[in-house]
């Protein structure tokens, strides 16, 4: 069945309640049996300021925005022009705005979209306790075919504490919006869906990553607040306390990373979460964890860089630092989830791998994925749990912490195990752990730290490989959503192509990659970085077909399916 989708943007200034209304819409849609994907955008103000909730509802799971919005509802136009580039419209779109607010900003008008006037403020005023955002929500519901029942359920849940009167007022406002929108020009209406309570999740990427970490076994987190990673930490703090772990707010990222190294040395699977500036501060100690073979997971929720960059917007431009940021030869894992849902799996897998291989796993999520909320099919259980190889107590006579083994992994004693004491060291060391500058020790330890990563069997999880044909789209992270949708549309047009979305960025998997690309004669690389970091990474480590195009551009605008499709189409 082909998905039917509708894309809606709800915009307004601070206090207009667009984010609240957006969240209610998503919640009601999930109760109506639809899937959803929602991101939000806000101005630079710390509190208040203009905001937009951008949403796509669908009869099938969705992991990306569409090319344009079918419907833009603006409660007011104050500064909404700032988002114009993030709110693409077409001539078929419908713009609903309040006549009191005057003309739409020129960028919006220039799209040629149809427009109608909805006196949201006036209608709200006629209802005691009514609010314009509820009128807007009612209009949206009527236009897209969302029934009243799930909306009422959500109202009752959200306004429970405010009492019956507040619920009634909001319901009246909703109905006023619905009535007014009855004769508006059409936007896509979604068909009624089967509702099966208990089969869906509503979750953000950051929450999914936090849950994945806890599922994997993480019980200690230390971190310093930074957008857009903070909400992952805010979700984890109470969650960890419930399951017998803890989260420490450290004095800075240097402290965060070293605290988790200390905790992990103590045998407790540990994680920190940060964004680019914090990752930069952590790099020396990431090297320490690699050299001392102390497993840790570093979640980096990418934002626009360099420097403080664009804190609230997404970009895939920390690939280089994650791969190459460490001094010395410092092999480690770099993984990237490629959807909100996958934040759960990939983070859990990262915990498992870091613990099994006694190394650092850097997980690259990004603002778009981390802060997006999606209604998704209930995710499967994942078998990957933290499991660190420990020495057998009695068997060890002269315990060698850094013993050179065939796998490269050396059993790791945990403080409290009597008779197996050792000193973990970031200085190069021999097998016992004693500092050494001998070439033989250096080479042996470098070899084992690399070997344990390269010899490991990562199975099929290294990438998502889909489709067939001579054309391939190669991508990673949050660019996968639009790339995958472009592939579907390409296939719907009777053409064939494949998608390779790399989840395990380091260590590289050249043989698996070659197999995935067998028979491919041309490849389109898709990423969100100005300099083409991913493209250069592919060039450096993999054999690519001769005909390669790279669609790489910086944030904050998301890659849209149509952009990818356009590149594919221009080839044929």
């Amino acid at each position: 069945m082909t998905a039917q989708t509708v894309s809606i943007a709800l915009a307004g200034s601070g206090g207009a309640g667009v984010i609240t209304a957006g969240a209610m819409l998503l919640e009601a849609a999930s109760r109506a049996g639809w899937y959803a994907y929602m991101t939000r955008s806000s101005g630079p103000q710390i509190r208040g300021g203009e905001a937009a909730a951008m949403m796509r509802l669908s009869t099938e799971p969705v992991a990306s925005h569409d090319d344009c919005f079918h419907l833009l509802v603006a409660i007011d136009w104050n500064n909404v022009g700032r988002f114009a580039a993030e709110l693409p419209l077409s001539a078929g779109s419908l713009v609903v705005s309040d006549p009191e607010e005057g003309e739409a900003p020129s960028q919006i008008g220039a799209s040629g979209a149809r427009s109608v006037a909805l006196p949201m403020k006036e209608l709200a005023k006629s209802i005691p306790g009514g609010r314009p955002n509820m009128v807007a929500l009612g209009a949206i519901a009527a236009l897209i075919g969302l029934p009243e029942a799930p909306l009422l359920e959500v109202l009752q849940k959200v306004l429970k504490r405010k009492g019956e009167e507040a619920i009634q007022a909001s319901l009246d406002a909703l109905r006023a919006g619905m009535a007014a929108a009855k004769d508006y020009p059409a936007v896509p209406r979604l068909p009624a869906a089967e509702t099966r309570p208990g089969t869906r999740w509503s979750i953000t990427g950051n929450e999914a990553a936090g849950l994945g970490a806890i599922r994997g076994g993480v019980r200690f987190v230390a971190a310093y607040p930074i957008t857009p990673a903070t909400d992952m930490l805010e979700w984890m703090a109470p969650a960890l306390a419930k399951v017998g772990g803890t989260l420490v707010q450290a004095e800075d990222e240097l402290a965060s990373i070293n605290q988790i190294i200390g905790a992990s040395y103590g045998g407790v699977p540990s994680l920190t979460a940060t964004s680019g500036p914090g990752l930069s501060l952590m790099t020396e100690s990431i090297g320490l964890a690699i050299a001392s073979e102390t497993p840790i997971v570093v979640m980096n929720v990418m934002r626009g860089g360099p420097s403080t960059g664009i804190p609230t917007k997404s970009e895939q431009s920390d690939l280089n630092i994650a791969l190459y940021g460490m001094h010395g030869d410092a092999p480690h894992l770099v993984l990237a989830p490629n959807s909100v849902t996958d934040c759960l799996f990939t983070t859990q897998w990262a915990v498992h791998l870091a613990e099994a291989l006694q190394t650092v796993a850097i997980v690259l999520s990004d603002q778009a994925m981390g802060q997006a909320r999606a209604v998704i099919p209930r995710p499967a259980e994942v078998a990957f749990l933290a499991k660190r190889e420990k020495p057998q107590l009695a068997a060890e006579q002269n315990y060698q912490r850094y013993a050179v083994t065939a796998s490269g992994v050396s059993p790791m004693a945990i403080p409290g195990m009597h008779g197996l004491q050792y000193t973990a060291d970031g200085l190069e060391h021999n097998e016992t752990g004693t500092p050494s500058s001998h070439v033989a020790d250096h080479t042996a330890q470098l070899d084992k730290r690399l070997r344990k990563l390269t010899a490991y069997n990562y199975g099929d999880h290294w990438a998502d490989v889909e489709g067939e044909g001579e054309t391939a789209i190669i991508t990673w992270g949050s660019s996968t959503g639009p790339a995958r949708e472009a592939l579907r549309r390409y296939e719907a047009g009777g053409k064939r192509a494949r998608l390779v979305s790399i989840r395990l960025l380091s260590p590289v998997q050249p043989e698996k990659f070659a197999r995935a690309l067998e028979g491919v004669i041309r490849a389109l690389v898709v990423e969100q970085s100005h300099s083409g970091q991913f493209y250069r990474y592919l060039r450096a480590h993999y054999d690519l077909p001769r005909d390669v195009k790279a669609l790489h551009r910086p944030g904050p605008l998301p890659v849209r399916p149509g952009d990818v499709l356009g590149e594919l189409a221009s080839w044929s």
Binding site: R31, P197, G198, R200, W201, S202, E207, L211, I214, R215, R219, F220, A222, A239, A241, K242, V243, G244, G245, T246, V248, A250, E251, D252, L254, A255, S256, N258, Q259, I260, I261, G262, A263, S264, Y265, G266, G267, V268, S270, E284, S285, L288, S292, V375, R378, P415, G416, M417, H418, G419, L420, Q421, Y422, T423, A424, D425, G426, L427, T434, P435
Partner: protein, 280 residues
């Protein structure tokens, strides 16, 4: 717990490793190592339940010279490493060792926040008023007119820190100063520091005979502090403000702040319970 190790009597040498220190003959750090092992023998702590954490510097080499669990991390970050370990593993005894450069310069911010956080660890800072490992540069405790470094041939011109005053102001729960010339006293103070709950700060004057040979005179300059410890932070602070840095051998301050120790007991919830909030 291991009953065999419980029954055994540990002597100081049971806490030493076979590794020969890289230190210069006569370095004060030798006394700290031996005092530390004596202190642990006094406490009879099983070596497998003690962790010694350090950063980088001559003094930071201590962990490998002991028979306990050791973590020799990066320069300046011993305190957060130790704090992470102790918070995650409150059952362990955690000691932190290092120099004035490691703890007060590159690690200065962690020093402040470790005092403030008051996790139950003991921090032994070996103050030689110089960076020994990098061959003799000025540290935050070096006098402004010290001209012994090629990096600052005219002296730094910058006033030194008073680590104990800063530690006290930042919230350290136990403050003491001692001198390597009297290793038995250093051992006694370390014993008290470990026993006292919360963040215990021990400044050990530990001469660098190679880059600060004039510190050989310390044995003539130091004097046993004239008064016993106080539990009044304001009084301890007043003493430190008029102190020339050579009052040694006594605990200066013992506080009673509750140590930072998050409850790791959980609420009995399972991961499945956490997932329920997402279900629709």
């Amino acid at each position: 717990m291991d009953t065999q190790t419980q029954a055994a009597r540990y002597s100081a040498k049971d806490y030493k490793s076979a590794i020969k220190p890289i230190w210069c003959p006569g370095c004060g750090d030798f006394s700290v190592l031996s005092a530390l092992t004596k202190a642990l023998a006094e406490l009879q702590l099983p070596p497998g339940r003690v962790a010694v954490v350090s950063g980088i510097g001559c003094s930071s080499r201590i962990p490998a010279y002991t028979s306990m669990y050791g973590f020799h991390g990066v320069h300046g970050r011993a305190l957060p490493t130790a704090i992470g370990l102790k918070v995650a593993r409150p059952d362990l005894t955690v000691l932190v060792t290092g120099g004035d450069g490691d703890g007060l310069s590159i690690g200065g911010n962690h020093f402040l926040h470790a005092c403030r956080r008051n996790v139950d660890v003991t921090y032994i800072i070996m103050d030689n008023q110089v960076y020994g490992m990098t061959k003799g540069q000025a540290s935050p405790t070096t006098a402004p007119d010290w001209e012994g470094s090629k990096l600052t041939p005219e002296g730094t011109g910058v006033n030194p820190f008073q680590p104990l005053a800063i530690g006290l102001a930042a919230g350290a729960n136990f403050v003491a100063r001692c001198f390597t010339g009297d290793p038995n006293n250093v051992a006694e103070i370390i014993v008290e520091a470990i026993r006292h709950p919360g963040f215990s700060l021990v400044q050990v004057l530990s001469p660098c005979i190679t880059f600060r040979p004039e510190q050989k005179d310390w044995k003539r300059l130091v004097r046993t502090a004239p008064v016993e410890f106080t539990t009044d932070a304001a009084r301890a602070a007043r003493r430190l403000m008029t102190d020339d840095g050579f009052n040694v051998g006594k605990v200066l301050y013992k506080g009673s702040r509750e140590p930072f120790r998050p409850d790791l007991g959980g609420s009995g919830a399972t991961v499945a319970d956490l997932e329920r909030q997402f279900l629709r």
